[in-house]
Symmetry: C2
Subunit: 238 residues, 2 copies
Amino acid sequence: MPATATRRSARLPPDDRIAEIMAHARRELAARGHESFVTAGVAERVGVSEATIYRYFPTKRDLLLRVAAEWFGEILSLEPALARETDVFEQLRLVIRHSFEVLRQEPSLSRFVLTEMRTDPAYRSTEIYALNRRFTSTVVTVIEHGIADGILRDDVSPTLVRDMVFGCIENRAWAYLREKRDFPVEETADSIARVVFSGLAVEPLRDRKRVEAALDGLEAKAAALGDEVAALRALARR
Amino acid sequence: MPATATRRSARLPPDDRIAEIMAHARRELAARGHESFVTAGVAERVGVSEATIYRYFPTKRDLLLRVAAEWFGEILSLEPALARETDVFEQLRLVIRHSFEVLRQEPSLSRFVLTEMRTDPAYRSTEIYALNRRFTSTVVTVIEHGIADGILRDDVSPTLVRDMVFGCIENRAWAYLREKRDFPVEETADSIARVVFSGLAVEPLRDRKRVEAALDGLEAKAAALGDEVAALRALARR
DNA sequence: GAGACAGACTGAGTCAAACTCACTTATCGG
DNA sequence: CCGATAAGTGAGTTTGACTCAGTCTGTCTC
């Protein structure tokens, strides 16, 4: 073993090599963002020639896709313990806050998913799509539960609410993803949850029903009293 | 004039050449999308060498930016006659519908603005940003008017509503921008406007106040009648 | 322990597309 | 009609994705 040996990577079984490439690719993606992600950089990190990467991944895009899917999967597996929380408002707030935290902690991944994946005509057959769908569906479920419990109005499509919530999250997050401008996660999550909740709450209507019942009662009573008074007056006049 | 002359473009004053390049670049962008927009293609369309394009535009990105800004400006100048409409709900519906129409009629431009521009760290100093801001601000104005007129609740940030509305529009439009899957513009615009409007409408509260006043009146009247009846009863018993 | 072999690995390319530059030449004021 | 100005370009360079013919090595067989 000569001292000049440029410690080249030893020969490895495919699965190990693939895992190693993906691990380094993730670091490259996290560090530089997908815009300046270069295969040569990954090759150097791994200590292997570029051709080796192309042995296992047909294209750079394919490598990025697999890396992103794996990474995204790991992150989403850390879902907040929604099940334990029973309050609809609190559940909604947790999901929104978790989204913001993911966006803030992994900006490079988020940017890639948001700008590169969504534009792909094959997006819907992507693993990322399935993962994202599973994640956003928690909002739909929460809303549906709210409706079932009679807490939320039933005349609004839960998927429309989902699109509004996540669309809003993205819009708010872009300033951070672009310019690293920090923003109040807690506060924003709270505002969004509150708008959705108060906008969809069924409470005003329920109040009105109670009031209507009270009105009916009062009117009946007033009428009865009126009659009685009239009767008494007639009696008194006699 | 030999028959073999490859009708090269004649020498032109800078402004004319710039205009010509931008016109052809727009066609190229519309036809192929920004992903496969190549400067060589534009050069060929114009009938000029690639170097000529680089004489007037420092980078391909710069050319695209200027083309997009011009194009976007023209489209947004065709704003629907919102001023004439006084109904808050109707105004909201019109803005949303107009957005969908722009997205559908110019998918290549939309994709470019949505995926390439927003990611740019310098986005906020872009002309596109200013234009987009002016456009989306109509929603903020509409909401603010609604609040001022007492039609909408005043405890919700209009800019949050703006982000929800446009975020939702984008999410709904992506399926179309990706896969040319058509979608019901009218219906979706209507749904969004309705959610926002009914979610923020102040009506239930106003109703309740009127009802509370009526209740107070009735209760007072009932009490008065009760007293009178008691007095009359006493009189009658005598 | 030797020889064969599969297949992991790579050096040295090709190719496409953005971008550059030294040079050419049309046009226009005088 | 001439010369200066600047519009225009052919022939590059560069960068980065991707390819391929061939090399080398760990393992398996006998």
